[in-house]
């Protein structure tokens, strides 16, 4: 199972194994990782599962789709490496992925 590293805004690290095919958002909820709200349940209709992806990982991932970018415009403090964690599906290639949660989601 790929390991995902969740880092809180104040730099607390949580390393959890997330079953293949689940999203990074689902991995957070199932492991009670704080800082990800996911109000809409993963339908890309809110921006409350917003994370910052470590730069080296961000560049390896597919280009962010327009609809996700549009939603990220409404996130709390979006940056260049922002993603919605409900749109990142775990895979073996993403083993060791580092995401940081923002100060808050709403």
């Amino acid at each position: 199972m790929p390991k995902i590293i969740y880092i809180s805004h104040d730099n607390k690290k949580n390393i959890v194994e997330v079953p293949l095919g689940l999203t990074v958002m689902e991995g957070a909820l199932q492991n009670n990782i704080e800082g990800i709200d996911a109000d809409c349940g993963g339908s890309m209709a809110c921006a409350t599962c917003h994370v910052y992806v470590a730069e080296n990982w961000f560049n390896k991932m597919d280009k962010v789709q327009d609809a996700e970018q549009d939603m990220l415009d409404m996130a709390y403090e979006p940056k260049k490496n922002s993603r919605l964690s409900c749109q990142i599906i775990t895979s073996n290639e993403l083993d060791g992925l580092e995401v940081t949660t923002p100060v808050k989601q709403t």
Binding site: D37, D39, C40, G41, A45, C46, A47, T48, D66, Q69, D70, D73, M74, Y76, E77, P78, K80, T106
Partner: protein, 338 residues
């Protein structure tokens, strides 16, 4: 004090259909919503996006669904109290007393919370110091256009609201439009209008920039923005308009002593009553084993909650189940001609 059989909090599809279900069994209700119009998430988040899972309707937009529901409840002449939020509730004997932030008072034996994921509020600027100027020089909606005449305005955001106001206000003001990335999401026509205005020097576009700091002590005199690559730039600004979309907050509901877990309220699935007698929760805001956040589930939940409201609203009467096809009483309530 407005007295009625049930207060519905939330005018989304679930709340609207609950009006219908109360109406056909002869109960009156009043509806309160924080938005300025009915429709909830359907109208605010996806007015133009088709929905494909409303029974018997292969495809309809959020706006069409809302309009259809409003038409369906027209016979009941329900009052809507919009742009206001329920701030407090208290219990007096068998009645609930509600007060909104606009000072409206209600009394009813039943409250139906159909609040979706909470009430919509504009997302604000992240900068802490912006609070100081909110309401005087920083706004998240435009209510008085005249205020901005011949002023320097910095507009933040990349969606239709930001673009539409940039166009409108550029007629009489100096506009800087600032967005965190190079792409705007807006109607094609609006985008070409913006480009034209930029060419004519009526609108200055700054992308990909974010707000870095505000200048000025008692009065804001300018802003500093930061390019994605770190370059800073100062802009003289009288007013900031921020259009970052809406966020949903549970708000005061969280303090009413209800069983809330992950922003949802636990209910009993026979009646959709919460842990408080006479307070029901339906739609996206309620939870129970197997809950699906679908509009059609909200309709079902409202139908059952309405029947449960009957017992509290008319304790001396017996509720009798009737079909809309055959019941003369229901036909009268719907105002059908014989």
């Amino acid at each position: 004090m407005i007295k009625t059989d049930a207060i519905i909090i939330g005018a989304g599809p679930t709340g609207l259909f609950a009006v219908h279900q109360l109406g056909i069994i002869g109960l009156q209700c009043e509806v309160i919503d924080n938005l300025d119009r009915a429709g909830g998430q359907c109208i605010e988040l996806y007015p133009d996006k088709p929905i494909y899972d409303i029974p018997a309707i292969s495809k309809c937009t959020g706006e069409e669904l809302t309009n259809g529901l409003l038409k369906q409840i027209k016979p009941f002449k329900t009052n809507f109290y919009l742009s206001q939020r329920v701030e407090e509730i208290k219990q007096e004997n068998n009645l609930w007393i509600l007060k909104t932030n606009k000072g409206n008072l209600f009394s009813a034996p039943n409250i139906i919370i159909a609040g979706g994921v909470g009430s919509f509020e504009p997302r604000k600027l992240v900068l802490k110091e912006s609070e100081k100027f909110e309401g005087s020089q920083i706004f998240y909606s435009v209510t008085n256009k005249a205020l901005f005449k011949n002023k320097k305005i910095s507009i933040f955001g990349g969606g239709d609201t930001a673009l539409d106001w940039a166009l409108e206000l550029s007629k009489e003001n100096e506009i800087t439009l600032i967005h965190r990335r190079n792409d705007f999401r807006g109607a094609a026509h609006t985008l070409s209008e913006i480009k034209k205005k930029e060419k004519d020097g009526k609108i200055i576009i700054k992308t990909p920039y974010n707000l870095k700091s505000l200048a000025g002590d008692k009065t804001m005199t300018g802003i500093e923005i930061e390019h994605e690559e770190g370059k800073l730039e100062k802009i003289k600004t009288d007013y900031i308009l921020g259009f970052f979309g809406l966020i949903m907050k549970l708000g005061p509901i969280a303090d009413w002593g209800l069983n809330i877990n992950n922003k949802t309220i636990s209910v009993n699935t026979e009646t959709f009553q919460t842990n408080k007698e006479g307070i029901f929760a339906i739609g996206d805001i309620c939870t129970y084993p197997g809950k699906l956040k679908l509009i059609l589930s909200g309709f079902h939940e409202g139908a059952l909650a309405a029947r449960a409201c009957f017992k509290r609203a008319k304790p001396n009467e017996t509720y009798r189940f009737e079909f809309t096809t055959a019941s003369k009483k229901i036909h009268d309530r719907l105002g059908l001609k014989k």
